[in-house]
Symmetry: C2
């Protein structure tokens, strides 16, 4: 872990913006590590130490998994030609080709299915939305542990949700059996100098954390967040959009979905009936 | 963080079983913390330090979120009568009533919806399975950061997937707006003395980690894992079932789904059309 950890006050200000910090509480190096997360697309090609992949997967497997079903898998993809096609599917994200470790996380009930086949049993529960959801959540919990582990080792990461632009083709490239579907990718490597980025401000806790019941009265909270995201965007030399504009740009049009309106059909075709 | 961390070899043996460890790699206190995870149902009622909830939510909000859409929320439930009904829904899991912090994580696109309503824009992307999946994954990444943060503070946790037995009733109890759905609960607190449990062995890495393409030839790997899970079960004084038996018990019958065959209809009713 980075030995040069931020104190609580500075870390909370970086995460929420000055004046928008939640109440300070307990603090330690792990909290400092977690709060310092940035998704880094500016990854260099430098290799990681031997055994790093195995350490990250050990961390991933240590996350909770629903009823110990372990309904996820991960594929480490190294072949340049496969990386190149995955990068294209993801909308030309070059870091997929450059980073030393590229992982594709799978919602995977196929292993449970093989086990049942051998035992001559049918798994009545498998065809339901519940099983796909359990598998996707299992994959996400595992991946997040891998991310925390990677960052503790001084590495940087970025999730690649855009593999869902064409999960059918991703499944074909990776030779997935029925009952396994890609849910996202993950690039891991060293941030290029000067490309570590800045901690991105999030919504104030009052927008996300509710007490007893849901409080939908968040108009003023969102209005106060918009200029913080706009200032962040300007500092990071991206378009100076505020949060409202970004959400609308991302979800407002069918074009922005980049084919993910067909995700349901593709997931069903991969062996999750989603009943 | 617990200052008394296991060395790599011991932690890998605890997680995989003697003789089934992956190649050793880099190691640090964070990896030791992650590998030491146990889900603990034997939680006591002792309160946590002031500010703990806020620290855990700050960690949760620091996890990656797809396109910074922040499509998740969390509700901290304290009211005993609500805790009691949630415990009943979850199949009488008493720890939900006892633990000092009980959280319900939500897949939540309602905030993005309110933002668009105010701007007079329709979010064409919202009705798709993709949006529900993004929101569920966002919630899972956030929750896992909260779990890591809690464990770093010496607390124990257990996820409560069984809230999905009746998400409609949970949503009613928590006053959720359309576009917000419970995906799981999380108990956080102090393990009762002697109830910390033992690290649960997972499948060998070779079953979960694939190289370049998926390798479905895992029959021998599963066969070797079965006795390790059986021995674990016996030591923990649960039924001495192996993994094969447990998977079949959990997924083999409609009864074991405990109403989650109706999850799809319930999620749609909560405002996720899953197109």
């Amino acid at each position: 872990m980075d030995g040069n950890q931020m104190p609580a006050a500075a870390a909370l200000t970086a995460r929420y913006g000055a004046g928008a910090e939640p109440k300070a509480g307990p603090w330690n190096d792990t909290l400092a590590l977690l709060l310092s997360h940035r998704s880094v697309r500016g990854l260099g090609p430098d290799p990681v130490p031997d055994g790093t992949l195995e350490a990250l997967v050990a961390a991933a497997q240590s996350a909770a998994t629903s009823s110990n079903l372990q309904t996820w898998s991960v594929i480490a993809v190294d072949k340049p030609e496969v990386r190149a096609e995955l990068a294209t599917i993801a909308g030309n994200q070059k870091h997929i080709e450059i980073c030393p470790i590229f992982l594709v996380f799978l919602a995977d009930v196929s292993r449970n299915g093989r086990l049942a086949d051998e035992a001559g049993v049918e798994l009545a529960g498998l065809p339901y939305l519940e099983s796909f959801l359990v598998a996707a959540i299992d994959a996400a919990l595992a991946a997040q542990n891998a991310v925390v582990a990677a960052e503790s080792l001084g590495l940087s990461t970025v999730y690649i949700g855009a593999l869902r632009n064409d999960v059918g083709r991703v499944a074909e490239l990776l030779g997935l059996p029925p009952g396994a579907a890609p849910v996202f990718g993950l690039c891991i490597g060293h941030a290029r100098p000067g490309r570590e980025g800045e901690v991105k401000p999030r919504l104030p806790q009052s927008a996300v954390l509710h007490r007893e019941t849901y409080d939908a009265d968040d108009s003023a909270i969102r209005a106060a967040y918009d200029p913080r995201m706009e200032a962040f965007s300007r500092r990071q030399e991206m378009a100076a959009d505020n949060w409202t504009q970004r959400v609308i740009a991302r979800l407002g049009t069918m074009t922005a979905l980049r084919g993910r309106d067909k995700l349901k059909a593709a997931i069903i075709a991969l062996g999750f009936p989603l009943r």
